[in-house]
């Protein structure tokens, strides 16, 4: 039931956003978000954006992961 793929907000009109999910455009309500801007990545559940992805947290945790597993240089 959850659409786990992060979607990018490409347009906002009142409380509705147009989001882009892997090239497909859809509508999502912004009623459940405090503040959202064009360019933000959100997770959408049953037509409503439920959160914004935290860029800093994403970058940090990914860096930590890569460091811990030094995986980046070993891609097949």
């Amino acid at each position: 039931m959850c659409l786990a793929i992060p979607s990018k907000i490409v347009k906002i009109e009142n409380t509705m956003a147009v989001i882009d999910v892997e090239g497909v455009q859809r509508q999502a309500s912004l009623l459940l978000l405090e503040d959202a801007a064009v360019g933000d990545y959100v997770i959408v559940h049953a037509g409503y954006a439920i959160n914004k992805l935290d860029e800093t947290a994403a970058a940090e945790s990914l860096a930590l992961l890569r460091e811990a597993f030094s995986a980046s240089e070993q891609n097949p």
Partner: protein, 362 residues
């Protein structure tokens, strides 16, 4: 795709898998409490790359599957009321009730429509002012704010023909109930990603304090899930249970406060029955008095007599991790996705359906 591809990196996953193999010792049983995790775990083949000592159990995380038979029968009764349009998420319509299913009612001419969101249901209500439009409210903390938002919109716009039948469930009370169910053996929980987006990791604190088991919130990409499994096995190896967040790009400690406020405005906790588990205190959400004019359970006279779960169906034991689908006598023989006996075979997120699609015995 930003925020996703990085976690699909097979090099990274392989490293995590290696580490899991080094860490995992004795037999451990981990339960995921989210249907989307179940599907993702099967689809990505994670089970086949984990050490044999790690068992992944699917818990009560599929919204359709945990819906009690009495609620399913109530949905069917609602669909038979004159002048009514039923709006629902897709999976629900194929779930067998005691004597019928929504799909069968639809074939008999009842107006039952699958919607993607409550906004579609509101739109149907606006376009059909002379009909009652009822939305079947199932789902966990991720879905309830979207239902609450629809009721708030309905009230603001003075819509009088939109109703919700509330059958929502809350995850933390189910965790308590699982630990208190006899025969249940769980060494750690893979906590749901998007429920946690809404309620935050703090919401699991009271559970963790009472039952200090390894608990890790996980995202949905293969590397996210593997990382959570690794953290769980490390905690088990250390003998030091923690409540950890392996999905920090989406989940915070306090959750989505605005969404929770919406839910609180419309709903209040109540005791409700779960399929296979029974009544769990304060694990459901009733519509508050201020919104009672939208409560389909109160506004319509629905009589449900003698609800019976399907004979021979082991969904109850499957939802608590006591059995796996191949241990159900009906699995693959009588019960298939084409003709499901129980809800766990209906829903794409159901454990039996996932086994049917992806599991081949070694």
């Amino acid at each position: 795709m930003k925020y996703a591809d990085e976690y699909r990196d097979s090099g990274l996953s392989r490293k995590i898998i290696e580490k899991i193999h080094q860490t995992a010792g004795k037999n451990i049983r981990l339960m995921e409490v989210c249907g989307t995790h179940t599907v993702s775990i099967f689809r990505s083949g994670i089970r086949s790359v984990l050490p044999e000592t790690i068992s992944l159990l699917s818990g009560p995380g599929c919204p359709v599957c945990v819906t009690d038979q009495q609620d399913i029968d109530a949905f069917i009764a609602l669909s038979r009321i004159e002048n009514t349009i039923i709006t629902t998420f897709g999976d629900l319509i194929r779930v067998p009730g005691t004597t019928s299913s929504l799909q069968r009612e639809q074939a008999d001419g009842r107006d039952i429509r699958i919607v993607y969101s409550t906004m579609d249901a509101l739109e149907i209500a606006r376009k059909n002012p002379d009909k009652n439009v009822v939305f079947l409210g199932i789902g966990f903390e991720t879905t309830t704010p979207t239902i609450a938002a629809s009721l708030i919109s309905a009230r603001q716009s003075g819509l009088k023909n939109y109703f919700v039948y509330p059958a929502h469930k809350l995850v933390p009370p189910a965790l308590f109930a699982l630990m208190e169910t006899i025969g249940v053996q769980i060494d750690g929980f893979l906590l749901p990603g998007h429920v946690s987006v809404i309620i935050g990791t703090d919401a699991y604190r009271p559970f963790f304090e009472k039952h200090p088991l390894p608990c890790v919130v996980a995202g949905f990409e293969p590397a996210d899930i593997l990382l959570a499994v690794l953290q769980l096995s490390e905690q088990i190896a250390d003998g030091a249970p923690r409540l950890e967040n392996a999905y920090p790009r989406a989940v915070t400690a306090s959750g989505n406060i605005r969404a929770m406020k919406m839910t609180d405005l419309v709903f209040e906790p109540c005791d409700v029955p779960w399929r296979g588990i029974g009544v769990i205190p304060k694990s459901g959400l009733a519509i508050k008095k201020e919104f009672e004019m939208f409560d389909a359970g109160k506004q319509f006279d629905i009589t449900v007599t003698e609800s019976q779960p399907p004979k021979g169906c082991a969904c109850g034991e499957i939802l608590t991790g006591k059995k796996i689908p191949p241990e159900c006598a009906l699995y693959k023989k009588v019960c298939t996705p084409m003709s499901p006996v129980g809800p766990c075979m209906v829903s794409a997120e159901g454990t039996c359906a996932a086994y049917y699609k992806y599991f081949t015995s070694k």
